[in-house]
Symmetry: C2
Subunit: 129 residues, 2 copies
DNA sequence: CTTGACCTTAAAGTATACTCCAATGTATAT
DNA sequence: ATATACATTGGAGTATACTTTAAGGTCAAG
């Protein structure tokens, strides 16, 4: 199928598909005589796979790695698990960072509420010194 | 003081200070005759203020807004509180997104652990279809 | 044979917050 | 006079995942 059809079937823009191909995430096989890309049904699955992994917060290089894993006979479930566990570690550290920020911002809001009439904002003063 | 001294006193690189000045976050006042920037003690506080707000996850344009608030007579604590509340809403939505991703990834890991011997990884298969 | 709907490429633009570079000017000590 | 340690500028580079642009080739229908 041509790129437009693949685009319609996956909801991914044609430009994005070309970009993914350039990055080695999707393959179009041999070009037609007219130089048009020629995708197989498999490309639909590949793009589906990419979308699912994007939703899990993986980057394109990481997703490329997953695609290699998927096509490699040697791949064990443990290898996949390892990637997922590394990923969850990253997610956890991002969450703790956000959590600590949230606490600080919540405290600042609390300070504002305590002195609602104050002409000068205690929160700003505190950030300044 | 010259930019190098300000850099030493704040721990911010000279390039970053110049960048902040260009963005209107810090002011150096009138140049010396030799065209060197001439910072006052206040610049130290301003940079301190910027750093504190960066730690709370604010962007430079947002921080610039806070600086304006700080220097404006009209600023009420409520105006500050409003910014903080908007910010916490953003933080919360980022956290829920991460939380939902974490759940999905944890489920995938669980699936890997359930079938540790499987030659083909159920998790990968599931992402593919 | 022209119109319109396809397709192609390379290259630049977007957003954010710097960081680095090159070329050059200035101040101070020896 | 020179070495060294400062300072200046404009502009490019970094990372990520696209999106947009410009200029042009291909194909089927009327």
């Amino acid at each position: 199928m041509l790129i437009g059809e693949l685009s319609d079937k996956t909801g991914l823009s044609k430009d994005t598909i070309r970009y993914y191909e350039k990055e080695g995430l999707v393959q179009s096989g041999a070009r037609k005589e007219n130089q048009y890309r020629n995708f197989s049904e498999k490309a639909i699955h590949t793009i589906h796979f990419i979308k699912n992994l994007k939703e899990l917060g993986f980057t394109l290089p990481e997703i490329k790695d997953f695609i290699h894993l998927f096509h490699n006979e040697e791949t064990s479930c443990q290898m996949v698990q390892k990637r997922l566990e590394d990923h969850i570690v990253n997610i956890n550290s991002k969450m703790s960072l956000l959590e600590s920020i949230r606490t600080k911002v919540a405290n600042a809001i609390h300070l504002c509420k305590e002195n609602p009439i104050a002409k000068s904002c205690q929160t700003l003063e505190k950030l300044w010194d």
